[in-house]
């Protein structure tokens, strides 16, 4: 384990929405993020993976101050970030969103878009904004002359570079990358991934990298957290997770990765039925209806978080106190 103090720490973060079903239905609670605790050491990339609806986007919104957690704490550099500190949070945590066609205001010039953080926070004056924007555009690989153009004049990859420039102009410590390449073409995707990798090394950034593409996560992340129905079911250092996945869900996810290797055929993930409705989470271990190794015990008892050599896992198979314990491995 790295000895550096965590730059980002989540302690029991929970977010519950009240969802009304139908016209006259009484609101029911929907727990989008359920008691999530994570630590991200400085300079690392935490890959967050999971299917749509698992709560990863809600978690990102909480970190960006767009949503307030129902309970739990978010700590940046050991300091708790309260709901009132949106400006502080904004300086330290910035987002890069998925769709560069939606993340840039079509009515604003590139200069306006990239300089917005400086203007909102009242950093510097008009002359320094111009200088800063030029500098950051150069860093993300765009010529300064794009400053006076509009998003509609750019390609998807160029727009994503603009979004990265906007996120980095205030020199944040943490960048939340929410599927930053999934809307891009393959050849552009690799350019953006390389850029993100370079920027991290250059500026010592910490990323929370949300993606459904496990090959990309494996390539960029140093740690990986797997989310299922609002809970982190397994978390580990990237090599450990990809080489020795412990949770059956992680194993299924890894199996479903289609690498460009002909002749291997399409894997059978054995996940069976569809993702459950988060408003009606299954009893016991939320994963049991789809788990190939589930037993009656899993339907009754929710698994607890168990430490692993470089992370944790929530599964009865790895709990020495459960009747399903499969014994210590490697």
């Amino acid at each position: 384990m790295t000895t550096t103090a965590p730059v980002l720490e989540l302690r029991g973060v929970t977010k519950t929405y009240r969802v009304k079903q139908g016209l006259f239905g009484t609101p029911r609670p929907l727990t989008a993020v359920n008691d999530v605790s994570l630590t991200v050491p400085r300079g690392e990339v935490l890959g967050l993976v999971g299917e749509s609806g698992c709560g990863k986007s809600t978690l990102a919104k909480i970190l960006l101050g767009l949503e307030n957690p129902t309970s739990g704490q978010v700590l940046v550099d050991g300091q708790e970030i309260g709901a009132q500190d949106r400006m502080t949070l904004a300086r330290r945590i910035q987002p890069i969103f998925q769709d560069p066609y939606s993340s840039l205001n079509p009515r604003k010039s590139i200069f306006d878009i990239v300089s917005l953080p400086l203007r909102v926070h009242g950093i510097g004056d008009a002359a320094s904004w111009d200088k800063e924007v030029r500098k950051i555009l150069d860093i993300v690989g765009l010529p300064a002359r794009v400053m006076n153009t509009f998003p509609s004049q750019m390609s998807g990859g160029q727009r994503q570079r603009v979004a990265i420039a906007r996120a980095l102009i205030m020199k944040p410590e943490i960048v939340i990358c929410d599927e930053p390449t999934s809307a891009l073409d393959v050849s552009v995707q690799s350019q953006i991934l390389n850029l993100l990798g370079d920027l991290r090394r250059e500026f010592g950034l910490t990323y929370l990298f949300i993606s459904h593409d496990l090959a990309v996560v494996e390539h960029l992340a140093t740690r990986v957290a797997v989310m299922y129905l609002g809970r982190i079911v397994e978390e580990a250092e990237v090599g450990g997770l990809f080489d020795h996945a412990r949770h059956p869900y992680t194993q299924a996810l890894l199996k479903s990765v289609l690498t460009p290797e002909p002749g291997l055929g399409v894997p059978d993930t054995q996940l069976g039925m569809a993702y459950p409705n988060p408003i009606d989470p299954p009893s016991g271990c939320h994963f049991h209806p789809r788990c190939p190794r589930a037993t009656d015990f899993c339907k009754k008892e929710a698994p607890r978080a168990l430490p692993t050599p470089l992370g944790h896992v929530e599964c009865h198979l790895h709990d020495p106190q459960s009747p399903m314990f499969i014994g210590k491995e490697g």
């Binding site: 299917e51 749509s52 390609s155 990859g157 073409d185 393959v186 050849s187 995707q189 690799s190 350019q191 991934l193 390389n194 990798g197 459904h212 593409d213 496990l214 090959a215 990309v216 494996e218 390539h219 960029l220 990237v238 090599g239 990809f242 299924a252 996810l253 199996k255 479903s256 990765v257 289609l258 690498t259 460009p260 290797e261 002909p262 002749g263 291997l264 055929g265 399409v266 894997p267 059978d268 993930t269 996940l271 039925m273 569809a274 993702y275």
Partner: protein, 331 residues
């Protein structure tokens, strides 16, 4: 069985735009036998989706289509009138679209939509059509199939809707299925299931399938044949093994280098890139369209591009081996 089910020669699609003509698809050729899966892979704007719509006869009126040959089981599609096309679509060739939410009609039940094509094309009764719908829903892995028939699309999840789309495409036992990015909108776990389903059903029913995708992983796993499309042209075609093991066109190799390979690409290393952007296809387009981004471009790339063919593995490049050996030597 040796005669191809579908054969396309020199298919060209031109779209008139303000200030000229957009040459969206420029002279593509391919054959497809029964039971075979062809993957057309390319990035946005390569013309791969337009190609599929052209085969189905679903192009907009403004798009000009021409081809030396476009035959489906001996039927000349270039001359087929609207009636012939209607009798083919849904019955002998059907299509699966990317977005199941928009391609299912929200106002009708799953059952109505499933049985519609069968009632239209085949002389079967309502009960028989219903029975067939239930059978197919079960086949695509939908539980409680009978009760699903009275449900509406919004009551189903994305993965289930895509399964319904597949079941719908299969209702009349088509000989050809064209699937345009059928799994792009789905989660990886669901993607694997849907692809596996399509793959197994294709084998079982001896269907020909054209799968249009941008995902090289999908291509490698399900394709018998691969066609790599760039800027309206097929730059490389061949069996999946040939194209992935000896990628000959510089674009194909470039694409393969862009994606990290778990276990092979070093974590955190710099990925390959293809600099530049897809050229404009408006106006006269000559030579190799990839030359503006190709590391091996030479002046000859502006002229006529030779076609290199070895046993069904075809690529177009001025370099005899597409500079594959040179790249492998430096790698």
């Amino acid at each position: 069985m040796d005669k191809p089910l579908l054969s396309v020669r020199n298919l060209t699609l031109d779209i008139p735009v303000g200030g000229g003509t957009l040459h969206a698809v420029r002279g593509i050729d391919f054959d497809l036998k029964r039971g075979e899966t062809l993957c057309i892979v390319g990035e946005s704007g390569s013309g791969k989706s337009l190609t599929s719509l052209a085969l189905m006869g679903l192009l907009g009126k403004t798009i000009k289509r021409s081809a030396d040959e476009m035959a489906f089981d001996g039927i000349d599609l270039t001359r087929a009138n609207a009636r012939t096309m209607r009798s083919l679509r849904g019955a002998r060739m059907s299509m699966i679209f990317q977005e199941p939410m928009t391609s299912l009609n929200p106002a009708y039940t799953i059952g109505d939509q499933l049985t519609e094509a069968l009632l239209l094309h085949k002389s079967v009764g309502k009960d028989a059509a219903r029975a067939r719908a239930i059978e197919l829903l079960e086949k695509v892995g939908i539980t409680a199939a009978a009760s699903r028939l009275s449900q509406y699309p919004h009551q189903l999840s994305g993965g289930l809707r895509q399964r319904v789309m597949i079941a719908m495409a299969l209702m009349c036992e088509p000989e050809l299925i064209i699937a345009d990015e059928p799994t792009t909108a789905l989660d990886v776990t669901i993607q694997a299931q849907i692809l596996r389903l399509l793959y197994d059903l294709g084998r079982e029913m001896n269907m020909a399938m054209i799968l249009i995708t941008h995902d090289l992983g999908v291509v490698a796993r399900v394709a018998d044949k691969v066609a790599v499309m760039y800027a309206g042209e097929l730059v490389e075609t061949g069996s999946a093994t040939e194209v992935f093991n000896t990628p000959s066109h510089p674009y194909t190799r470039g694409l393969l280098r862009c994606i990290p390979l778990p276990g092979k690409t070093e974590r955190g290393s710099t990925l390959g890139t293809i600099p530049g952007i897809v050229p404009s296809l408006i106006g006269d387009v000559a030579g190799c369209a990839f030359r503006t981004r190709c590391p091996h471009a030479v002046p000859a790339c502006r002229g006529e591009i030779p076609r290199h063919a070895t046993e069904g593995h075809v690529f177009r490049c001025v370099h005899a081996d597409g500079k594959r050996h040179a790249e492998e030597a430096t790698a």
